[in-house]
Symmetry: C2
DNA sequence: TTTCTTTATGTAAACGCTTCCATATTATCA
DNA sequence: TGATAATATGGAAGCGTTTACATAAAGAAA
């Protein structure tokens, strides 16, 4: 069953059927009804490959939106840089394969421009995307896929990593090694990513009837982590293991512990999260949960293509599993 | 960059390029090398859509595996029937659209057969799939996608509905209507679906500083719910709203409440979960969260195709958002 | 040498859809 | 009323592949 047969039974041309299918305005009410009747009767579904092939003439622009903050970091030497670079690499290569034009722009720019109207789809990367941004863009009816960001109250497509599962795995690993005094050092919990990892840690500890203990850090503490470690040692004592909510924290923790003459992993095991490359070079090399960043970007593009070409309507949340990488910083 | 350009620069016909690309034997060594040189130089990648369109039928066999229990229910008149029928409809139509052959078999059958080796991919539907099943099949290196089932400890692709979000939405809705005494009646929490909905309910109530109260039901109670309602009324008092973890429970609750001369929704609001069709005919018509069942099946097939054709390696979890449908059983 | 195979390559027709362009119809205006 | 503009529809050319069929070249058999 194809468009041609539909056309024949509806007594119109294939062009007209296509127009009805795509909601183009140049069809009379009567014809539209006639075609729709046939369409419904046979429960017609457009062949995605054919549509995709035909439509390819059009320049599909995908704006990879990055907030000013992240963009600055992308240009500076930072871990964020590595993370998002990998994601963007995945985006660009997958886009190229599908002959889609990608442009990386700053979020602030696109929000001010009425350029929005020329865009076929948007990828919004990272934690700076807010509900307002999404709502604003949605008004234009432009498909969006969030990357490494999830906004629970909004039903919007997103690709994220499974922090809950990862944290849970790490915690179980430590427990399986006989460790019991495990603490979690994490970022602000209103960030969904940190929250997920936190939840995974807490619930796993509770499942094993162990007392979960967690400490929140802020940007100042990143400068100097001594006060935090000090506090932990005083109020909690020396933990057997520390699970940090990302790699930079983990490395900072190790550094600071060393200053306290506490050895990693002999005295305390440390596990990070993200799997950035520096972690491997670090001494001791960092045990971590690797987020498949390239895949994240790649999947986001594929999803966007699906949405655009199939008029896919149900938003989905795609979570990628992380990969546990055992290295030197933990037993 | 397409096959035609490759052909031109390699000084051969497009047919020949295609033959080289597909490893057909009817190409001389010399020509093959010539073409491959060009291919490598420009890092050519075949357009998937075009290929898909041109190939009339890819012989990918997908076994939709259904456990005996569910299969029995599919043949009998049950709500499970409706739910899984819709899912299977999505699977079959999407498969057909992609010219893939689908066969619905019973889980028990396939596990005993060495037929497994002839299969390109498997879809496992529903809550009866166990870790052992998956592990067994994985041994054969066959791609699997779980549908409406999630096994946290195993990194296996799955398509599920977002119970947490749905439950959370329902709870917020009730709270927004000024209701405070809200309880949750749910199934066994070791089923990930019920657990998710439970978590969504609990955490939302806590967010609003309300006391969450929940009751677990079992199959006997489904026969006669009087004891449970009795217990609730005695220990908790009359709730203002009841959120049930699926539609059948919700309807049973309403029925039983009516026997107690308690009116729905005047005295107590009731919300279900699933969005099965009977709920609409029910009196009062059921407020519920609709799981996009068709989409669930459809997405599962698409994911399986991706895994098979792209050799996609990172397993992902795809969650579909539910849709809140306000009807007569709630204010 | 002639005829018959075999092998390598090219030509062109699909695959199902979108969309530019042309045409036919109807409405609008002077 | 005739000229013009607006609107609805159809025809047909792509989109990038695959592949049946045709053809050319070369080798084998007579």
């Amino acid at each position: 069953m194809n468009i041609k047969e539909i056309a024949k039974t509806a007594n119109v041309s294939v062009a007209t059927v296509s127009r009805v299918l795509n909601g183009s305005s140049k069809v009379s009410e009567e014809t539209r009804r006639k075609v729709n009747d046939v369409l419904n009767k046979v429960n017609f579904k457009t062949d995605p490959s054919a549509r995709r092939l035909a439509i390819k003439k059009i320049e599909i622009k995908v704006f990879v939106i990055v907030s000013k903050r992240i963009n600055r970091q992308l240009n500076s030497d930072s871990v964020v840089r590595e993370f998002y670079s990998k994601v963007i690499e995945g985006i660009e290569q997958t886009a190229e394969l599908n002959k889609i034009h990608v442009e990386v722009v700053e979020l602030e720019d696109i929000l001010n421009e009425s350029k929005l109207k020329t865009v076929n789809g948007l990828l919004l990367i990272g934690g700076d995307t807010t509900i307002e941004h999404v709502k604003f863009i949605k008004k234009y009816g432009i498909p969006i896929v969030l990357v490494d960001q999830y906004i629970p109250t909004l039903k919007v497509d997103c690709v994220i990593s499974d922090g809950y599962d990862g944290a849970s795995y790490a915690t179980k690993y430590l427990i399986s090694k006989g460790l019991k005094k495990i603490i979690h050092i994490h970022g602000f919990l209103n960030h969904f990513g940190f929250k997920n990892r936190y939840d995974g840690f807490i619930s796993t500890m509770e499942n094993y009837k162990l007392l979960p203990k967690d400490y929140e850090y802020n940007d100042e503490i990143m400068e100097d982590m001594k006060p935090l470690i000090d506090k932990i040692l005083k109020t909690y004592g020396l933990p057997e293991a520390i699970f940090a909510s990302n790699d930079p924290i983990a490395m900072k923790v190790i550094e600071t512990l060393n200053n306290f003459r506490i050895r990693v992993p002999q005295d305390v095991s440390v596990i990070g999260f993200d799997g950035i490359e520096i972690g491997e070079k670090f001494n001791p090399s960092l045990t971590t949960l690797k987020v498949p960043m390239y895949e994240m970007g790649s999947l986001a593009v594929k999803r966007l293509i699906d949405i655009i070409t199939n008029h896919d309507v149900y938003p989905v949340r795609i979570s990628l599993f992380t990969e546990f990488i055992k290295r030197g910083s933990s037993i």
